[in-house]
Symmetry: D2
Subunit: 351 residues, 4 copies
């Protein structure tokens, strides 16, 4: 049964697999000192506009988040995140396991703004409470929404004024950079945060995330931290080769764009059929609201998650597309939806 | 320049890469619930002789060690290891970073025995000291030596009597199982330890280690711990496919045997030339002792580590071979050694 | 200026100081193995009705909470607490610093019930999220409210059914046990929780809290944990002597009762003057709502905290009394309030 | 039975108890902001010669060590200590529990020197190993030996050159400052370390240690750390009053001197009887070597620890005196020793 559950159901883009084969037999230095990792780093430094940027290839998003945040903070310093933030919900307390409290703020669209941070700073005013020190955002958010350059600039300025670090989780960053309405570049991500990461797993690699640190004192000794948390692969070439290839010829952006296109195409088709949406997401996840009976029928033919109950008879479902999603699969879902919906209406008419 | 520095200089065995390609396009469940991971687990359960064994595929050795040990211990419980143990020296304090002290014992061959443990238990007798609770061994050790079945049985029995957990690091386990004189099987490793892991990285995979836990209460909730420490790959299929292939048709054992054979062949050739050895290792690392001037000459033509100074004019070097080492490379090293040595003698004679 | 800010402004009850003097010159075993600690433990075991109860005297509330909770939980296990819980707000992330996430539930009166816990259990259903394992309550709560025996029984039963540990912070437990409407005894606290602590600091000792653990496997090795976290005083006699004295002749209960009486007397007097209350607390903290101008005037003559804004012109203040609060001080506050209020009304009439 | 086991068998010096009584009834600010703590801090700032020194009163030595060290280090940074160091042996892995590895060096007299540190720095050269960052010493050491000003200066200079922090555990610091041959002052301790602590427990207080931090960035936010680890007493006045009194009229130094005098008097008397010593300690612990049969006899009349076996028939015992040890007790021990020894010789003669 075809799955729209997530964007990591398939393996890697063929170019990436081919590169792994091409590079397989040479001897390379271990632990990320190989030539392919160096090439990948060079490509990323070029994109962020800093020939000395601190770039590190890691294995998973949770690993990247926990290494970065635990490396940046002293023991009493805490991390501000949206209540829906990935680190707050779906990483099994990975940040707390390194000793740091998360301070959560409610955000209807998953985004963080100075207005949401301000009360947290006001409330945490003395040594009986943790010290807010790092703001965690993700772009896009868990709800598929994105930050505009203006919003990011404003947040960045605010953090600087308040002596807060700004860290961005970019598990699906590609989707945020190339979607309709996007005006943020990788260079902006670099300039406006203290550190961020570029996810590979959800945009065509087998695995791998690139942590990029701008603020020099945060980058100091970071390889020690990576090793200590188990993040240094002996065959770093495997990560190096993948990112080297991903950032050749715009592959990263093309794959992200394809994922977005598939989702937005599906959204348009569903909207035409009268579907409303739980939240307006321009990236590769969409949240159409459907009658529960229709959802039940669709579940027999496609895999997806039911995300939220919107009223007694309706729910929002989450549909995720990726670099690997075929237009055919999308069309199939839409036409099935039409059929199911029509059958329901006929039934109603008949009754 | 050809390198004998380690056994992770090359990529993966072709079978493994091919399997990644073959399996690339299907949709699979994430986070290790895919069909290939299930197949790999089934193969490993078969080899350890327990249809319900708790098997988990992780990304790196340090990650595996820290997840296992921190999951097994309460905060005041400590880990006994040889002073030369990998967790004691070369994992950047990964175990301590999870809160646990290492108690080191000196061992000339890198192995741990009840006799070495006993004084540690005697010394740690009250609540002002940590409580020794887990014995960490590796097989083979950092020095390439191996445990006999008898030694392992004795250690296992002792640990049980003393309420100690026994955990084995198997980064190079394959080499220990198939070397000359070996009488330990995977089934023995399982039966005689509480947990151990089978390294893939050093025997032909791109990366990946299989953690296997026998003692049921230690296995409880282990996936939570894996996720919390960043060890759960979204595309678990990548690990699954590699281990599925590695344990097909004895590939794992064949690759390990090749690594051993290359090292032992090199050792014999060097011995014939009169080389003594720092320690007698039957696996894929050997430690010939050479005149420092010869070492210097060899360094111009091959990569390897100088391991220990043995006297004013001599040092032991470490030569490591792997599944990917060609006989040609070994022969080339040996003949270079002969040439260099002869040149030295001629020089001596002339002088 | 007289302070109603808290219940730890003064030193210790004279009986306790005298006991310290009486016992000063003998030689005693260190680290809580002295005769006075043993006597205190015996007295407490008697009160909880278990001759083998695991009782430990510690230095501070935060220390007690962090030692207990970090000792009870595995790394992926989390703690459920009211959003207003002391560990969630005012302990500088002490629990997170030991690696454990807090899951907060909103509670208008500071109390936790099965109804509040249930959605947390439902939401945390798989290994990408922490595992709720311990319920933290305090009795009285941060708002001065108390648990009835029925509520505690219900919560305890629920926790047992759901495999949750129940832990009670008793920094001000005395106040909860002897206030109007109280029907919970120390024996109930013991029987209905897995562990709890009896605060000394806020009811007449110089410092000291008694941690009591009922569930045997949680008590195992607890002295190791106490030592490891810096909680084992060399001169344990200092804690022992204080608790020995505190639990002689009902002193503990009498001191707690005096604190409550002073607060409730003040509450009645203020109510008679027409004061409403932010929350109905039967213990030694009360939260009268006053006109902001009155509060400002009172602040010139007494110390107290402004707790919450209730509307544009009014706020709730917190007044705390203790074993050391004199009736005279209470009367002085009340009469000042009356004067200030009358002056305000006269001004109003004149205007 | 009289005990020479340690220097914390008795309560507090009468002046200190009297001060607690004198100050008992006033209302004071909580958490170390009270007037007595401020006075104690002022007195200590005067002694260290810095009107702005960062001084904090804590409850126990282990607590002080773990708060200081965990606050000063980043996660991958390690602590160098003598193998016999208190943190390495007798604090139940408290430092490791905060995530930091201890690197131990063997030292026959318990002291650390640049010569002992140098090989550790050489060995730890890359990110697969922890980064040595802090040198832990105690003065006096666990063996009662002391640092000369010259040694301390040399160590301090070395640490600065090597970017190492120097931290001194002063549980018994008083004894080191006033013993025969001592040339180090509190001001020296301050100037030559980054941080150190002055123990109160072993020199006449009920409990309490004063942490003093010289290096400004290490002192930043330290009260957050103290609170987070459970070290902030609500009634900070209890610590404040004790240290206020301890540093009045040289009481601290007088009490320390008395402890030393008693030990040295006992040492002289025993030496006159022909006793040899395991190590030459000028402070309040001495290690006479005695025939095992004599030790056995003495054990029936006094409490002390057997410290080390020196040959088949002899052992070193540890005798500790304190501010509270009476000359009478010392004389009694010496005369008992003489009697026991004579009886043994008579027996020998008779036989």
């Amino acid at each position: 049964m075809y799955s729209f559950r997530n964007d990591y159901s398939e393996g890697a883009h063929p170019n990436i697999l081919n590169a792994l084969i091409q590079n397989n037999n040479t001897q390379e230095e271990g632990y990320g000192l190989d030539k392919h990792t160096q090439n990948a780093i060079a490509a990323l430094r070029n994109l962020i506009g800093d020939a000395n940027g601190s770039v590190h290839l890691l294995s998973s998003g949770t690993q990247t988040n926990l290494i970065a945040i635990s490396s940046f903070l002293r023991p009493h310093e805490a991390c501000i995140t949206a209540t829906s933030g990935h680190i707050a919900v779906h990483e099994t307390g990975a940040i707390e396991a390194t000793g740091h409290k998360l301070l959560t703020v409610n955000s209807s669209d998953g985004k963080i703004s100075p207005q949401l941070i301000e009360p947290v700073l006001t409330a945490h005013h003395f040594e009986h409470m943790v010290k807010p020190r790092l703001v965690y955002i993700s772009n896009p958010t868990e709800l598929g929404t994105i930050y505009s350059k203006h919003e990011l600039q404003e947040l960045s300025d605010y953090c600087q004024r308040k002596n807060l670090l700004l860290y961005a989780d970019g598990a699906r960053l590609g989707a945020a950079l190339v979607c309709k309405g996007a005006d943020v570049t990788l260079e902006d991500m670099y300039k406006l945060t203290d550190a961020f990461y570029i996810g590979g797993t959800k945009v065509g690699t087998l695995f791998g995330e690139a942590l990029i640190i701008r603020t020099p004192h945060l980058a100091a000794d970071i390889r020690f931290l990576i090793k200590q948390r188990g993040g240094l692969l002996a065959k770093g070439r495997v990560l190096g080769t993948q990112f080297e290839e991903l950032f050749k010829d715009n592959l990263y952006f093309d794959l992200a764009r394809h994922g977005n296109d598939m989702a937005q195409f599906m959204a348009e088709e569903l909207a035409e059929e009268g579907c409303a949406f739980w939240i307006d997401s321009p990236t590769n996840q969409i949240f159409p609201i459907m009658d529960n009976r229709i959802i039940e029928d669709l579940e027999g033919q496609f895999q997806f998650y039911i995300w939220a109950k919107t009223d007694e008879n309706h729910s929002a479902i989450r549909l995720v597309t990726s670099w690997a999603t075929s237009e055919e699969a999308v069309r199939s879902f839409v036409s099935t939806y039409k059929k199911v919906r029509k059958a329901g209406q006929d039934l109603l008419v008949t009754a």
